[in-house]
Amino acid sequence: MKIRIRYFASLREVTGQSDELLDMADGTSIAEIKKDLVTRYPRLQDILERCLCALNRAYVPPEAAVHENDELVFIPPMGGGSEPQDNGAS
């Protein structure tokens, strides 16, 4: 079965693409997909450790299983914390 994985921000730059179709067994966990991605893109390792997972546009835990035609996105931390002490952007 196929799922679509989309890459944004740092993940897009490391993989050099905005999305790809992955072929795998139905019910594969997101954690397993992560391992496979790190094998193919070693520079993703640190980034993926900080990412949340979104399956079909909703946050899910990494144990979640994927199914045919799912859309999987790893969400790196968002920038722009607004606490005054971090001196970050507004």
């Binding site: 546009r57 790196p76 970050g88």
Partner: protein, 137 residues
């Protein structure tokens, strides 16, 4: 009214957003405008680049507005976020909340911008004089 959500590459239009939430029943309008600053963590910022997972961002913003409406009873909300390259001084995000009384508008506006920053998949790359990096909050 249905909340207004704009995700766009074009410059944000604050006056149009304020006009869109205005109504004779409104006694206060709170506007938060986030603008690109020329420095961050000791660096000189040249410009910013914003990128979004647009479909999910829109869905999350809808949820956040619905939460604010339920919690503070506000009914007239507009949220606009810009993507792509933004120069110093340009607005990246505008939240407008109009309500009969100001307290609810202030609280709802603060809630919407804080929650948006923490949970909506929109990323910011800082291009500084010393290099560029994706900012992780």
């Amino acid at each position: 009214m249905e909340p207004i959500i704009q995700l766009t590459h074009a410059p944000l239009e604050r006056d149009a957003l304020v006009a869109a939430v205005s109504h004779p029943s409104v006694g206060g309008i709170v506007v938060f405008e986030g603008v690109v600053r020329d420095h961050a963590r000791g660096k000189q910022v040249r410009h910013l680049e914003y990128e979004a997972y647009e479909e999910m961002a829109r869905q999350r913003i809808q949820e956040i507005i619905a939460e604010a409406e339920q919690r503070w009873g506000v009914e007239r909300v507009a949220v606009a976020h810009r993507f792509g390259r933004l120069e110093i001084g340009e607005a990246s995000v505008i939240i407008v909340v109009a309500s009969p009384h100001r307290a609810e508008a202030f609280d709802a506006c603060r809630y919407i911008i804080d929650t948006l920053k923490a949970s909506v998949p929109i990323w910011k790359k800082e291009v500084a004089t010393t290099g560029e990096e994706w900012v992780e909050g």
